[in-house]
């Protein structure tokens, strides 16, 4: 039983343990006090307060974001996602952009890890666009550039919007240097790259730029040697791979892969890309592509040795079905592009025992799928 000591005994005081324990933390805390410091939760050190906020269920984030500037900026921060990851609270969501049958109205549907439709995002700001780039970065969905169509004329835009999954809100980020659509984009080492595409008057572009999420700045980088458009990109081992689409250098479709190394700011070429890719996704350390010429095979790129492999897709139902990829829980999902009532989503599990990699699942967007991304937040 702990209790007050009554008798006098010979006591040896332990003094050493305070010299090192949490000294740093206390120093930084008292420094902060001098600097007109406002605590996140009065009475608690910020590191503890941050843990408290990170443990709140996500449905309360919009409320918490309305409490004060400090709370709001913390909930929007990379650190917030990092702490939630450390305590095992990150969940995986599939964001699917669907479009109605007339091709006029699109909306982002959010499916939870069981494929249940959880919610629909507030409408994307700005005009209706096509040919934009989409990616996910630290709990944010980025929708970049694209073309707006008014009076039948396509006009490229450089606008970039971000959806914050914590605050359930869209905001505008810095615009790209070059308005573009049908370009390639991918994240490499925490930076976001946009490469090629079409620019003003449908001119094909060789320009490339990089976005730094910490500073909200787009910076032009070394251009491609030749314009390239309709292409896509992925990042592996600190390098950016731009594939597919067309290049003014080649007749027909480009089999070349443009590889950018951010460390020495330079491009190099690789010969063995794949062409006319209708959908792609990165799963594990591999790139999965579907080629237009054969929609019953997955083409799988392994960046370790720059090799390609193919995996047959078990055909079900109509042969006319085209696919869009989605990734959930380490598995590749094959959604039908068109709304096909009879189609059950195919699921490919690369970790499954040989012979049982393919299954079907009820996970399915409600309409035609334009693209999908996986959000961890």
């Amino acid at each position: 039983m702990p209790g007050f000591i009554s008798e006098k005994r010979r006591l040896t005081e332990s003094s050493m343990c305070f010299s090192n324990h949490s000294k740093d933390a206390h120093e930084t805390r008292s420094q902060a006090v001098n600097d007109c410091y406002v605590p996140i939760l009065p009475g608690l050190p910020d590191d503890v307060a941050k843990l408290c906020l990170a443990l709140v269920p996500r449905t309360s984030f919009p409320t918490m974001g309305a409490v004060s500037n400090l709370w709001r900026s913390f909930i929007r921060s990379k650190e917030f996602i990092t702490i939630r990851k450390q305590v095992g609270l990150l969940e995986e969501w599939l964001y699917v952009l669907t479009i109605d049958d007339e091709g006029k109205e699109s909306q982002w549907e959010v499916l939870d890890c069981f494929g249940n439709r959880d919610r629909i995002l507030p409408p994307m700001p700005g005009e209706f666009k096509m040919g934009f780039g989409v990616l996910v970065h630290h709990g944010k969905l980025l929708v970049m550039a694209g073309r707006t169509v008014s009076d039948g004329a396509a006009s490229p835009t450089a606008d970039v919007y971000q959806y914050d999954s914590s605050l359930n809100r869209w905001s505008k980020l810095s615009s790209m240097n070059v308005a573009r659509y049908d370009f390639a984009c991918a994240e490499v080492g925490g930076m976001i790259y946009a490469v090629g595409g079409y620019g003003l008057d449908g001119e094909s572009l060789c320009s490339a730029e990089v976005y730094n999420p910490d500073t909200d700045e787009w910076t032009l980088i070394e251009s491609l040697r030749r314009p390239r458009w309709g292409c896509f990109a992925c990042g592996f081992e600190g390098k950016l791979y731009v594939m597919g689409g067309r290049s003014s250098f080649t007749i027909g479709n480009s089999k070349f892969v443009d590889v950018y190394d951010p460390d020495n700011h330079s491009w190099c070429k690789m010969k063995n890309g794949c062409v006319m890719v209708t959908t792609h996704a990165v799963l594990g350390k591999k790139l999965y592509c579907m080629e237009w010429k054969n929609q019953r095979k997955l083409a799988v790129f392994n960046p370790d040795d720059n090799s390609w492999d193919t995996i047959p897709v078990p055909v079900t139902g109509s042969l006319s079905i085209g696919f869009r990829f989605g990734i959930l829980d380490g598995k590749l999902l094959l959604f039908s592009i068109k709304h096909e009532p009879g189609y059950r989503t195919l699921l490919y599990d690369p970790e499954a025992a040989p012979g049982s990699e393919w299954k079907t699942t009820d996970i399915k967007p409600s309409g035609s799928c334009l693209c999908s991304v996986t959000m961890k937040a």
Partner: protein, 164 residues
């Protein structure tokens, strides 16, 4: 790992910031990594005396609570945090404190490196935030509304798009 032959004493004495002394069973004290490290260090030195550990940041009423928690948890294995009885006990234990006490307890748990108690307190605070409105959060946690009226209106507008 304390292997010294002189470490036969099974109790240590912990001194609160207001100079009250608590005799604590070593197994109970070891729930706090801070106390455990002190004990290990002293035992390595091979002292035969009763170990006195002064805690300059923890008052005796809060220390009593931390030790009450440690004593309960010392009866359960480290990996027994999912034990239903223990969970129930934890909940009842925290339920009775006001926010100021909970804050002090959280800080003591942080200072004494009693990780499970720290997590418990943080989760308890998080769960209480969950059910509150913006106004209530500001009031209970004493947080100043530093938004401009325009910012506030914008946020309200956004949140009208509630999660559906």
């Amino acid at each position: 790992m304390a292997s010294s032959s002189s470490s036969s004493l099974s109790r240590v004495v912990v001194k609160s910031s207001d100079n009250n002394l608590f005799v604590v069973n070593k197994k109970v004290a070891s729930q706090s990594q801070l106390l455990k490290q002190c004990i290990d260090n002293m035992e390595e030195k091979g002292t035969n005396d009763v170990i006195l550990i002064p805690l300059s940041n923890v008052t005796s009423n809060i220390l009593t609570l931390v030790l009450e928690y440690c004593e309960k948890h010392a009866d359960f294995a480290d990996d027994d945090n999912n034990n239903q009885e223990l969970k129930q006990w934890d909940h009842e234990f925290l339920k009775k404190f006001d926010y100021a006490t909970l804050n002090s307890l959280t800080m003591a748990a942080d200072y004494m490196v009693t990780k499970s108690l720290l997590n418990l307190c943080c989760q308890f605070i998080a769960d209480s935030i969950k059910d509150l409105t913006v106004q209530q959060i500001r009031q209970i946690f004493d947080i100043k509304n530093d938004f401009t009226p325009q910012e506030e209106a914008d946020i309200k507008n956004e949140n009208a798009w509630a999660f559906r």
